[in-house]
């Protein structure tokens, strides 16, 4: 498969980006400042992320569209208001997570933001439930920019008046340079911020404006440290098709009504797990010292029984310590439980920790 590039590829290059292949795209892992500085500038000022590799999948149709999507997505789509967004998933028959996503109700239907590595399969999975009454298209003419950090609102409001009124997980259309763009108050860093869906033709000009306001470009490296500190999952690492939302500690993302009534893929299994709990569960992990417990690190109990594994682990620049997430047997999931992490053949102490590791309040 040919490596794909986002509309901003040359722009990133001029900013001194180091590229890595990611989900079939050449994406910036970092820029000149490096991961730690990029991370800190997002937390203290604002940073922008090119997330145009993610799928912007649009669905249109009559009432039956909701019924169709609710078979594979456990959100309460019937009661989702126009311009409101929800974090949810695509589920398989076993209740396993095919992908995690953000779904937004639009005037004509829904927009779903899909992970880049999963988008083609996601669309196949969703299509199984669609009929000729439903229209679907992946819009590759749009870029997606995340603007994150405490100064985001002030900076974006100057350019696009009205965005400051958006509440967390809501969005709207705005005019920019004679075109419409869609802005949601959302993100994946634990900071206040926005995600801006903008035509590929206008995106460079938009980024020029951000840079003139001291907004730093942020690569995938810092995106990872930011989301991990915020306790957010990365698909393909913390989530996969063999893990269900109860194990992933994401049962909050299944709508209350859907938990009761069901009618979605894997509901039978999820219903049982909701009642009885799961054997393993996703937890936050803090190594006691400086050692970094990376993905696949084995987790042991204090009496040396293997109890789980790490799915994401790095150094958290704002926590100023190593942080990790992983799965442990549920009886070891209580906050504060002492565990051991096997790194390079040696066991290091650690504790089950609350998530997120880093907390800020969203604008509600």
């Amino acid at each position: 498969m040919e490596v794909q590039k986002t509309a901003l590829y040359d722009y990133h290059k001029n900013l001194g980006a180091k590229f890595v292949p990611f989900a079939g795209y050449e994406m910036p892992i970092q820029y000149k400042d490096g991961i730690v500085k990029e991370h800190i500038s997002t937390r203290t000022h604002a940073g922008f992320f090119d997330v145009s590799h993610m799928g912007q999948f649009f669905l249109e149709g009559d009432k039956t569209l909701i019924t169709a999507l609710e078979k594979i997505i456990p959100a309460d789509l019937n009661n989702l208001k126009i311009n409101h967004s929800k974090y949810s998933f695509l589920l398989n028959n076993e209740g396993g997570i095919i992908d995690d996503l953000i779904i937004t109700r639009t005037e004509k239907g829904f927009c779903i933001i899909l992970n880049a590595a999963c988008k083609e399969n996601d669309i196949r999975q969703i299509s199984q439930f669609l009929t000729e009454n439903h229209k679907q298209f992946l819009n590759n003419n749009l870029s997606l920019i995340a603007l994150q950090g405490p100064k985001s609102v002030e900076i974006l409001e100057k350019l696009i008046p009205g965005v400051a009124n958006l509440k967390f997980m809501t969005g709207n259309n705005f005019d920019y340079e004679g075109e419409k763009l869609y802005v949601t108050r959302s993100g994946y860093t634990g900071e206040d911020g926005f995600e801006i869906s903008i035509s590929n033709k206008k995106v460079e000009k938009f980024i020029d404006y951000l840079i003139s306001n001291e907004v730093k470009p942020i690569g995938l490296g810092a995106r990872d440290t930011l989301r991990l500190e915020a306790g957010l999952c990365l698909y393909g690492h913390d989530l996969n098709e063999k893990i269900n939302p109860v194990e992933a500690n994401l049962k909050w993302a299944i709508a209350k009504k859907r938990k009761e009534v069901g009618g979605f893929n894997g509901w039978e299994k999820i219903k049982t797990l909701l009642a009885n709990g799961s054997e393993k569960i996703r937890v936050g992990i803090k190594p006691d010292g400086k050692v970094i417990a990376r993905e696949n690190t084995k987790i042991f109990s204090s009496d040396n029984n293997e109890i789980g594994f790490v799915t994401s682990g790095t150094f958290g620049p704002s926590v100023n310590a190593p942080v990790a997430m992983g799965y442990v047997k549920s009886e070891f999931s209580e906050i504060g439980t002492s565990i051991q992490l096997e790194v390079r053949g040696k066991k290091y102490g650690g504790k089950i920790s609350e998530l997120p590791f880093y907390k800020k309040s969203y604008v509600k």
């Binding site: 970092q30 991961i35 490296g221 150094f315 390079r344």
Partner: protein, 126 residues
């Protein structure tokens, strides 16, 4: 202290009598990015030429640090284990990794000079 010599794995070595000081090069730190964890060997450990001797981790990944020269460790630099970020600021000075009593000065002599190393880095960009 003798002139610094360099390895293809981006370590530097200087020699004081039969005790060598080993660290990673500025070029290595630039490739690694922000260093957030360092593990140095304990005194008494025997290391082979090009054997694994220490660990350095950036936000991105963990890498082994090899000893370009064989011998017995006399000291690991605890200061860099306590403050891994200092390796980024002074990799070829205060932030050395370990010292060792060497077995064979010939191993030192066979390493690259500064000029040779700079040329090597240019010809082998990462």
């Amino acid at each position: 202290m003798s002139e610094k010599k360099f390895s293809k794995k981006h370590e530097w070595v200087s020699l004081d009598g039969d005790v060598a000081t080993v660290g990673i090069t500025k070029h290595a730190t630039e490739m690694l990015g922000d260093i957030v964890f360092v593990e140095v060997p304990d005194a008494g450990k025997a290391v082979e030429k090009e054997g694994q001797a220490a660990v350095v981790e950036s936000t991105k990944a963990a890498s082994d640090v090899y000893s370009p020269i064989s011998g017995e460790i006399t000291e690991g630099n605890k200061a860099i284990a306590d403050d891994p970020g200092s390796v980024n600021s002074d990799p070829e000075g205060a932030s050395w990794f370990f010292k060792l009593k060497i077995n064979d000065k010939g191993e030192y002599d066979s390493l690259m000079s500064k000029d040779e190393y700079d040329k090597f880095c240019k010809e082998n960009p990462s």
